[in-house]
Symmetry: C2
């Protein structure tokens, strides 16, 4: 019997220790949760009204320091549940000293984002140490989240050592189907920095509009945008890219082609197959549709002018965006569209195939893109589409990354097992637009009072809840070698049914859920999924984001935060 | 053969006429669509910069006229698709003259809201005639929607005769689970008036918070609200009620009881059974839960103090809200809660039943409410709940209205066939919060990477699209006599996962879909559902609402409006 008692006693100790850690950590409400926190004797200290951050001068870091100093001293965020830790009697914190080893490393994929933060119990100075300015920005964000109240106070006797699990953590925003103002994009980048995300994947053009003004091809936006007030000028892009640097957020342009290019036909009808046609002509079988959704048009790989225009576009885009990744799209090539074009009909009747057409296109563009010192990202279709796919030999694994969106973990596995690096944007977990119905008009399924269409009429419904996003393991089912090729993930906001009015609420706080999973994981020290304790932390984080001007949607009644555990399905 | 040709020719004429009507009507983008429009020779006229509206002086109408004059002259809304009708050469419109037969009829259920509007081709004056000021307000809204552009212009040679199909057209907003500012409520009432809705059903208190300040029972809000900044003062309520009058919107208070009263226990723990308990104790079967969701507490019908407090509440509420309807709630009485109370346990063990408890409660409150010259609205549960329901003899059909939310058309039929008037808020069609997942924490279904929970974890998912809402026939399956008892419908926004950040986007434009269905129906002159042509009109209306400051969510890519028919599922 004694061994059983010992065992019980041992278990009880573990439980008590874990409970104590949880309690202490829950007072440190940093989102995403840092990798390691040590706060052995929890106390708070006041922040001096003349608090300042000292650091080497740096083009992008210095504006970040100005911004964080302002946030720290003036925001006075009041937590819904204030920490129950006592104030120390020692002097207020006067200085945060930044020590950065390498002021040179640019913001690019794989840059070191680690940092350590030490706030000693005594003395008036805290230390933030980081190998790079980008790691320093992550540490500044952490520091800013430690501060709350009026007068501002924060944890003392605290040591944090932090770094991301995944190098690529981003948001894809579609600004073609509906337009977003520059201020919307800047606000999104700012909120990304709050969540330690580093990749703003800008799906800037598509079949519906071409808002990007390009000096070498001004007609594309002049004729293809929604109008002069719904364009991104060269100055706008510079501002956005610069803003990204100052927030540690890369701005990755996507010029989706050869599909999704209907808007190009406004300027150059001769290079676009099947432009401006009804997408699903009466009597057409689904597999013979002209587009994956209304808004038809694919670049014609056989027309020389296609490459003349596209190379101008690539040239301008690589000039405007210093970012090393160039996203080439290449998703959803719909056979019916190419087949509708007379010159392509000729090619096919001469024995050519649709995949050969894509090979011609890839071979005429990818080497040109990589010659600009770019890594090319394509959607997975280019490798995995059942009908139209490229010859893998044209897609060098060293300079090509594939972004997965179909079929959950299975397609990630297909990509990495073929030797490609993968960015995960599974539509089953990471598509933020899903669940709001379908945008198509005249759908006769609504003619009679029948059962509500499955998934509310949304192809990728239901709505992806924060829990669904939080709990997705993007390397699920991969072996260790394969998992290393998964460089990270992106949530995606396609804009058929989104624009400025709903941007913040569609993105936040659900994107925060992915941000934590990719930064420090979704499991606690014991390997258990931390969805339960994450609820209260994410809830509190949502309120702090709202206080910073991000209209993130609420997750629960306010009552739930002030009654911890009471809104659980299983009480803990 | 000739008869066939004649028949064909006849059909063709019909088609041409219908097409012509559709084309003309689509130029008159009034939402909800008026019952009858005659515009035989479509022309536009300019509005004089000194345009004015003349009318008898009236407390509530005069402010509306000031407001509409401002909107008409200054908003300069630019339609996405401008009408293709020519400007007349005659003089600009100088005056809209209002003629009102009855300046006395108060804003209450069943008041006449009809109007006629005539804008002659010649002359500088238009005429709006209405039996009541409330009909005049509807006509002013119509007139304001006819105006667009800079300088403002509008249709001329136009005659509209209009009135609602259903008398009760509303929104239910829950301000207990999360709080909304007074300005949110005012903006919602304003948007309701844009859509000719007339009933703001204010679900003001519930288990989570009691924000309503009541002079006779100040402790309820002082202790039961989310805090002093999250209350509705007497002045706030007066302002909201007054604002409602000036917009033709009744403000109907709901004091939900005996269930959903957990927040009352902060002031009066002795009158609330099972307050502040965990809603689903470990090992408890679903049917033995203590509440329908976290946030427990039911008023105890056996405690005399219950009625002392509640009668004070009823007294204050009927004083604050001049509205003739008083909503008493009475939904979701959960057996486990009452059974958890010792005094009720005694009652039950002595042979009493839960339904008898409800009878006691109804009998002790309903006559008091009706003595204040009120019609009582209850949720359907009071009649239809499987376990706890009242004796129908205690619910006089003359002074009781039942609001249905379960089981689609079936429960509507049960209500009206029992002789009660019905307000339809079917959760399958009219619940606007659905489809955004579940708010419960620690749901172990998220522990493993399995299929995403059905309906995204939302009990009432999927998301109710505007089409689902638009196409719901609230008298479906009823005979003529029964249908007359359906007084109208309300969309409902429960606020577990909604607050100020998402209010407009959750409500609009989906509520506009219901507004048209209840005002002029969802079918065209030939009896065919008009979901197809409604898409473009609702889209345009959404943009006008946005221009008026309502952050309504987008339904489609902007491209779809400028390419009519191209975003349809079936081309027309």
């Amino acid at each position: 019997m004694s061994s059983i008692y010992t065992h019980h006693f041992y278990s009880l100790s573990i439980i008590l220790i874990l409970f104590s850690i949880t309690t202490v950590h829950s007072q440190i409400n940093v989102w995403p949760k840092p990798r390691t926190i040590s706060w052995s004797h929890p106390q708070l200290t006041l922040l001096s009204p003349t608090f300042q951050i000292t650091s080497p001068i740096h083009t992008h870091l210095t504006p970040a320091i100005t911004r964080y100093t302002h946030t720290i001293l003036t925001k006075h965020y009041h937590p819904i549940i204030a920490p129950t830790v006592n104030l120390t009697s020692s002097s207020p914190l006067q200085t945060l000293t930044l020590t950065i080893t390498d002021l040179i490393s640019p913001l690019q994929h794989g840059v070191n984002e680690s940092y350590t933060l030490y706030i000693p119990t005594t003395g008036t100075s805290a230390n933030l140490t980081a190998p790079t300015v980008w790691g320093a920005m992550r540490g500044l964000e952490t520091f800013s989240q430690l501060v709350y109240g009026d007068p501002p106070r924060l944890a003392t006797g605290l040591f944090i050592s932090d770094s991301p699990i995944f190098e690529h953590r981003g948001i894809m925003l579609d600004t073609s189907r509906n337009y977003y103002g520059v201020e919307d994009i800047l606000r999104t980048i700012e909120a990304m920095s709050y969540n330690k995300l580093n990749a703003f994947h800008w799906h800037v053009v598509d079949s519906h509009s071409f808002p990007l003004v390009l000096p070498s091809e001004p007609e594309l936006s002049r004729k293809g945008s929604y109008g002069p007030k719904m364009q991104y000028s060269v100055e706008d892009v510079k501002k956005i890219v610069q803003f990204g640097f100052e927030h540690g957020v890369r701005v990755i342009p996507e010029i989706d082609s050869p599909g999704h290019t209907g808007s190009w036909a406004e300027a150059y009808p001769e290079i676009v197959a099947c432009a401006n046609m009804f997408w699903l002509p009466s009597g057409t079988a689904w597999e013979d549709r002209l587009a994956s959704e209304p808004g038809t048009g694919h670049l014609n790989p056989l027309h020389p002018k296609t490459y003349e225009v596209l190379k101008n576009v690539i040239h301008d885009v690589t000039t405007l965006f210093p970012e090393n990744f160039y996203h080439g799209g290449a998703d959803e090539i719909v056979p019916g569209c190419w087949k509708a074009d007379p010159s392509i009909q000729k090619f096919l009747s001469d024995g050519g195939t649709l995949s050969q057409l894509l090979d011609i296109f890839i071979n005429s563009t990818l080497p040109y893109i990589t010659s600009h010192n770019r890594t090319v990202v394509y959607w997975e279709d280019v490798l995995l589409d059942a009908t139209v796919k490229a010859d893998p030999s044209l897609l060098p694994t060293g300079s090509t990354i594939l972004q997965t969106w179909n079929n959950g973990p299975n397609n990630t596995k297909l990509i990495v097992s073929a030797g490609y690096r993968a960015i995960v944007s599974s539509s089953e977990f990471y598509y933020l637009d899903c669940g709001h119905g379908d945008f198509l008009g005249n759908d006769s399924s609504y003619d009679t009072l029948g059962p509500v269409p499955k998934n509310g009429g949304s192809w990728c419904g239901p709505f992806k809840t924060w829990q669904t996003i939080y709990d997705y393991d993007i390397t699920y089912g991969l072996n260790e070698q394969e998992a290393k090729l998964v460089i990270g993930g992106e949530v995606a906001l396609w804009s058929e049914q989104a624009d400025s009015t709903v941007l913040d609420a569609r993105l936040w706080p659900r994107t925060s859920a992915m941000a934590e999973t990719l930064w420090s994981g979704n499991k606690d020290e014991s390997g258990k999924k931390r969805y339960a304790e994450a609820t209260d932390r994410l809830n509190e984080w949502r309120y702090r984001m709202v206080s910073r001007g991000i209209a993130a949607e609420p997750l629960q009644p306010l009552w739930c935060i002030s009654h911890p555990g009471m809104c659980n399905y299983n009480y803990i």
